[in-house]
């Protein structure tokens, strides 16, 4: 649904990140929440109804961008800039606490 104007054929992206295990191009300055909008079905699932949600406000006030970032769950994706190799996973339903 979104595409960077910086994306040009033949020009490599600024970095690669892993979204649910899939290598995904990303650009300097964008946030985890921005990446979530480009990968199909990468949003969170509501812990109540299980419906799919995607980032809504991008300014830290809606919490629709919650994701597991480098293993840390319930991270507000819109406040975290992407880093090369970052692991982003969708948060599906109520979050799991590891043992």
């Amino acid at each position: 649904m979104f595409k960077s104007v910086l994306e040009r054929p033949g020009v490599p992206p600024d970095m690669m990140v892993l979204v649910n295990g899939v290598e995904t191009p990303a650009w300097d300055g964008e946030t985890v929440a921005s990446v979530l909008l480009r990968v199909p079905d990468a949003g969170r699932r509501s812990p109540i109804s299980g419906t799919l949600r995607l980032p809504y406000c991008q300014m830290g006030v809606c919490f629709e961008c919650l994701a597991i970032v480098d293993g840390i769950a319930s991270t507000q994706g819109c406040l975290v800039p992407v880093q090369p190799g970052m692991r982003i996973e969708s948060q599906r339903g109520p979050r799991e606490i590891s043992r």
Binding site: V5, G43, V61
Partner: protein, 459 residues
């Protein structure tokens, strides 16, 4: 660590306050949850200066470069990517940076935490690919992201027009614009004379409008907009001239103005004033921006929506007020006059009464099945039924429905609950209070809090 002043927010207000306070010799720390200075309007400005996106963002955006540079050079300590999650009297501030919690103290606090877009529930607003215009603009400023496919905008106010223009400048297209603004009332026009002094701004607005009209469908005078789709937005429907209309859509961007961020001032039990025309609460401030609590100041949009230029000036005013109060400057009034701050502020706010009257918040009746609380998925109907069994008290509705108990802590549903309570109890909205805001201001982890036990300077 301890400082003279802790400033929360590195937007126009926070940055200009920091620059002033530093020039007067104060020890200043500036904290912002964003990774770089600029606030909402100048988001990503340092990085974007060299980007192809930059020219498309317009003149106002470019003006931020000087302010950010002055801030960087000011010598204020700056903590980016840092959330303030609790402020205790004294003042003790509790922060988290990269999952590490810590505690600082300051003699005065300046809240320059800005605004958020007004949450306006409607059927389908939780569907993926429905988002705010502000969100889309932030995406543009932070990675050059443009929406693709059939882009619809629904809303009112200057921001959708500005964003649409920026989008068109970059070669984007808009499938249609659903204009929710009511036709200007006489009352709005009556406020115009003052605004003519800012003719430049007005002309800008008209230019935006013309650009947008050229790009796609412009729809006015409709009602009951619905975003529909299975797992994500697929189409929009609305009612106009007695007929239901339906279009395919890939992205819907909505916007109904901005409102101050008040969680901090509410949590600190500052007095607030209800702005009936714009339908928001703002902390009550004295002429220096001081709240009802001593040594707690507010500047910029957090104290009432005024736009970035007014925010810059109010930041300077608050800086002088704080410096006077802390004994850092002997003559804040003289400094205020010398810098023509009041005239500059009046000029920056000249168009505001006109805009406020032109774009009142929507006050349409919410259907019972619309989700009001996104986090806990509480519908307007459930809130109404709880409201019928309770006093006109948001805490009672919250307790009965869990509305406002999710991670956003009521930032998306607060005003809706207030309006629904007013509706059910037949009261003016301003007579119903807002949620009681409880800490933490941001959802930090138990581990971060627990770590404070051994942290340096633990309370």
């Amino acid at each position: 660590m301890s400082y003279d002043v802790a400033i929360i927010g590195a937007g126009p207000a926070g940055m200009s306050a920091a620059v002033r306070l530093r020039a007067l010799g104060a020890a200043v720390i500036v904290i912002d949850e964003q990774p770089a200075p600029g606030g909402q309007i100048f988001r990503g400005i340092e990085r974007n200066a060299a980007s192809p996106v930059f020219p498309a963002l317009g003149e106002d955006y470019a003006k931020g470069c000087a302010l950010v540079a002055a801030f960087r050079a000011s010598g204020a300590e700056y903590l980016p990517s840092t959330q303030v999650w609790q402020i205790e009297d004294g003042w003790n501030l509790f922060l988290t940076t990269e999952r590490k919690a810590r505690h600082i103290t300051a003699r005065a606090v300046l809240l320059a935490n800005g605004a958020q877009e007004r949450p306006v529930p409607f059927p389908g607003w939780t569907l993926p690919n429905v988002m705010t215009v502000g969100a889309a603009q932030i995406l543009l400023k932070s990675g050059g992201m443009l929406p693709e496919g059939r882009i619809w905008i629904a809303g009112a106010g200057p921001l959708p027009l500005l964003y649409a223009t920026q989008l068109l400048n970059l070669g984007g297209r808009i499938a249609g614009y659903l204009d929710t603004a009511t036709t200007p009332k006489l009352s709005a026009l009556a406020r115009l004379p003052g605004a003519w002094r800012e003719f430049g701004n007005l002309a800008k607005g008209l230019r935006w409008l013309r650009d947008v009209r050229r790009s796609g469908m412009m729809i006015k005078g409709f009602s009951d907009l619905r975003a529909e789709g299975e797992e994500r937005l697929e189409h929009l429907t609305w009612e106009a001239a007695g007929k239901r209309h339906r279009v395919e859509a890939d992205v819907l961007l909505v916007h109904e103005g901005v409102v101050p961020r008040i969680h901090e001032t509410l949590a600190l039990r500052c007095e607030h004033i209800w702005n009936e025309e714009q339908g928001y609460l703002a902390p009550k401030l004295d002429r220096w921006g001081q709240t009802s609590r001593k040594d707690l100041f507010v500047a910029g949009d957090a104290g009432g929506i005024g736009g970035w230029m007014a925010a810059t000036v109010s930041g300077e005013i608050a800086a002088l007020g704080i410096a006077g109060q802390l004994g850092i400057a002997a003559n804040p009034d003289d400094l205020r006059q010398a810098a023509h701050l009041d005239q500059r502020r009046a000029r920056a706010l000249a168009l505001r009464p006109f805009l406020d009257a032109l774009y009142p918040p929507p006050r349409t009746r919410l259907a019972d099945d619309v989700i009001a609380c996104r986090c806990e998925e509480v519908t307007a109907g459930a809130i109404r039924s709880a409201a019928r069994n309770s006093p006109a008290d948001p805490s009672a509705v919250k307790a009965a429905t869990r509305c406002g108990m999710g991670p956003c802590q009521g930032r998306q549903c607060g005003y809706t609950v207030q309006a629904l309570l007013a509706e059910v109890h037949g009261l003016p909205i301003g007579d119903v209070s807002f949620f009681h805001i409880r800490p933490p201001l941001k959802p930090i982890t138990l581990g971060e809090i627990a770590s404070l036990e051994h942290a340096e300077g633990a309370a």
